[in-house]
């Protein structure tokens, strides 16, 4: 019993749970373990996966970002509108990144410089940005003029769709940033003890602004890919995304109290979220039930986080 507990609550506990779940699902759910379904599954988690990269940094430094869903929708909107207006997809992409980065910058400055609680700040920007998305499109979906835009999501490289590659590259990049750079270590240090980090010479407010800005930029990327996949800019896209992303991170062992995070964990967390949804679709479970399951997964994630901290605390 104790060794089982150690296995489940230890460093690799999540990977074990994931492997188990994957094996069970592969054996029991028809059509699950096929190339087509696997690619579809990965496609479906692209938005969550990409945004989770930077949400991990946010949570690891004891912050929080609720505005990601709105930012994804807004920057997707902007990408479509800007490329329609200028006739250039590249300009559209740049506009989306600038918009995403700007929202992140505002979040960061308000939180770090004016010392407003991150939850409140991003709750506010979440609504403001969603509002801006609705205003700019008059509440309607905006269609894409240039079919080239669809290629972002449709094109394939070595048989794997581009968005999956983008997600993979971001996983690698942010994994490197977290584990192998001063930026990553400082993020974790701030999460562990912000005041001690400041006194140890970490420029805490600048770090926080950077983290939020990166979050915004990454939301921009996710927004573009999402718009391309749904072939339009939708002001109501990605509602509730923030919750799925935070669930995935927490499920992946990122501590809500800050100071603990691992890219591998987050990837597994994202995949668990994806698999749950995918399996429910394959089993033809009604969408209404999926909300319940998603909520249950979040609860389970937080419970696991709690058990894990208790287990870690006992060692001390």
């Amino acid at each position: 019993m104790t060794s089982l507990k150690k296995l489940l609550l230890g460093e690799q506990g999540l990977v074990v749970i994931f492997a188990l779940a994957f094996a069970i699902v592969s054996l029991t759910v028809p059509n699950f373990l096929t190339e087509r379904n696997m690619l579809g599954l990965l496609q479906s988690v692209v938005t969550i996966g990409i945004v989770a990269c930077t949400m991990m940094f946010c949570l690891a430094s004891r912050d929080f970002d609720l505005s990601v869903g709105s930012t994804v929708a807004f920057s997707g909107m902007i990408a479509v509108m800007a490329s329609n207006a200028t006739g250039s997809i590249v300009l559209g992409l740049l506009a989306a990144l600038v918009c995403g980065g700007f929202v992140g910058l505002v979040n960061g400055v308000v939180i770090a410089r004016f010392r407003i609680n991150a939850l409140i700040t991003t709750l506010a920007t979440m609504q403001i940005v969603r509002g801006l998305a609705l205003i700019s499109s008059d509440g309607r979906a905006v269609g894409i003029n240039d079919p080239g835009f669809y290629q972002l999501a449709l094109s394939k490289f070595l048989g794997v769709p581009t968005p999956i590659w983008v997600m993979g590259v971001l996983f690698l990049a942010f994994g490197f940033l977290l584990n192998r750079t001063v930026f990553g270590k400082n993020t974790l240090a701030i999460g562990g003890n912000p005041e001690a980090s400041r006194l140890a010479g970490v420029n805490v407010s600048r770090m926080r602004i950077w983290i939020f800005m990166l979050q915004g930029l990454v939301c921009g990327i996710a927004g573009v890919l999402l718009a391309s996949r749904i072939t339009s800019g939708q002001p109501n896209a990605a509602t509730g995304l923030e919750l799925s992303v935070i669930s995935a991170c927490v499920l992946g062992g990122v501590s809500l109290a800050g100071g603990r995070a691992a890219m591998a964990g987050v990837i597994v967390g994202v995949l668990i979220m994806g698999i749950a949804e995918n399996v429910m679709n394959l089993l033809n479970i009604q969408a209404f039930y999926q909300y319940v399951v998603r909520g249950l997964i979040l609860l389970l994630a937080v419970l696991l986080d709690n058990l894990r901290s208790v287990a870690a605390g006992r060692r001390g």
Binding site: N186, A196, R314
Partner: protein, 510 residues
Amino acid sequence: MQDFLEFKSISKGYPGVQALSDVSFSVRKGTVHGLMGENGAGKSTLIRVLSGDQAGDTGEIRIGGEQQLYKSVRDAFQAGVIVIHQELQLVAELTVAENLWLGRFPAKAGVLDRRKLIGVVTEKLADMGIDVDPAAKVASLSIGERQMVEIAKAVMVDARVIALDEPTSSLSSRESEILFSLIDRLRANGTVILYVSHRLDEIFRLCDSLTVLRDGKLAAHHSDISQVTRDQVIAEMVGREIANIWGWRGRPRGATRLQVNSLAGPKLPHPVNFDVREGEILGFFGLIGAGRSEMARLLYGADARSQGTVTVDGTTVTADSPVHSIRAGIVLCPEDRKLDGIIQGRSIEENMAISSRRHFSPFGILNPTKEGELAETFISKLRVRTPSRKQDIINLSGGNQQKVILGRWLSEQGVKVLLIDEPTRGIDVGAKSEIYEILYELAAQGMAIIVISSELPEIMGITDRIVVMCEGRIAAEIERSDFDERRILAAALPDISNANDLPIQQVQSR
């Protein structure tokens, strides 16, 4: 008198450590019993077992001859055992009276009986000689007053055994005296007091009897404290004789290293001036709230300055943030290690390298090999006791945490001025002298060191010169050859006329 509180072969193990093994001793009714030991000796574990917070693996506790079988803090509370921890358990936004009644408010048909609520408390407080307004919010009280309220809470429920864990660690000496007279009164009423402290003076001033723990075992039990000497107790605590824990020796002093001119800030309104020379250890002494730590934080750039210049080796430092100070060679080991020093949840290695890694991380990319070497170097140099450099810093004892923070700065390049605030607070005797040795060595290498301490023996023992602060101003500056306990204390104490409205906590709480 017969034994009232009895510990019978208490043992308690945690994974990897035997925190207590076969500890037995007893305490008579109406006495104050001291409990001493180095960090990790098992005092806290024993208190936890007594408080019902954790159950012992074996052994039993008897109170008044009855075996206690309680399983939780609540059960212990019902049995009349109350532990007062360093972190006080009061609700800041409620009044003193409400706190004292918390959990069992007097009410008639669900409506608060305000008269009883205030009345009983007023009476009790007067009985105990505690001068606190029952209608005041706890948030408005000083730490010392809060401690009194906490004790009053124990008296309200007729506690039979009160354990105090390092009660004076954040009190001024005047507040401590008030606490001591309250303890004297409780003793006279027949309460058993278990008094945990690192401070020998207090133990000898207060206690009737004493138990010393070492490595989880009973090292000594003295049923009459007047039969032992301090040196004996220290030897029992460390298990060896410590001839001279200060070990100060003279060293050449060079040119002026640090010069501080009219430094002031919101929490230190009166400008201060002083300088420190190469190889000098300058002490800052004062009561809590005298402005010593505020001075250090301003000097380090941790708090914003309103005026003043700081010069290191003749170059003016634009220190408006710790980042700038570190680059200019000024570093700070903060007063509150837990709050401001260590980064919980991260390893020793990361805690050490957090600042110095910028020297060997090109483009912000880490060099794990170098970082590991650095950690190993300072772990052995500073003799940090740990199984591995990957160990979470929270698992280390206070002395070892302090060493890791020293390692953080020793691994930096070009440190010229070391500010160290309360270098040995909560650190046991053995580790203390090791930390002093490190300071002497650094000074010998030419560093200018500023030691801030509220322990007079320490500051007199290890510094070359003392600056005494009082109510935010520099009150005296004394060379080692002129060190005199009375003179320093006299300078640190405010005029007797305003002694009653000492701004003790206002300045300290930030």
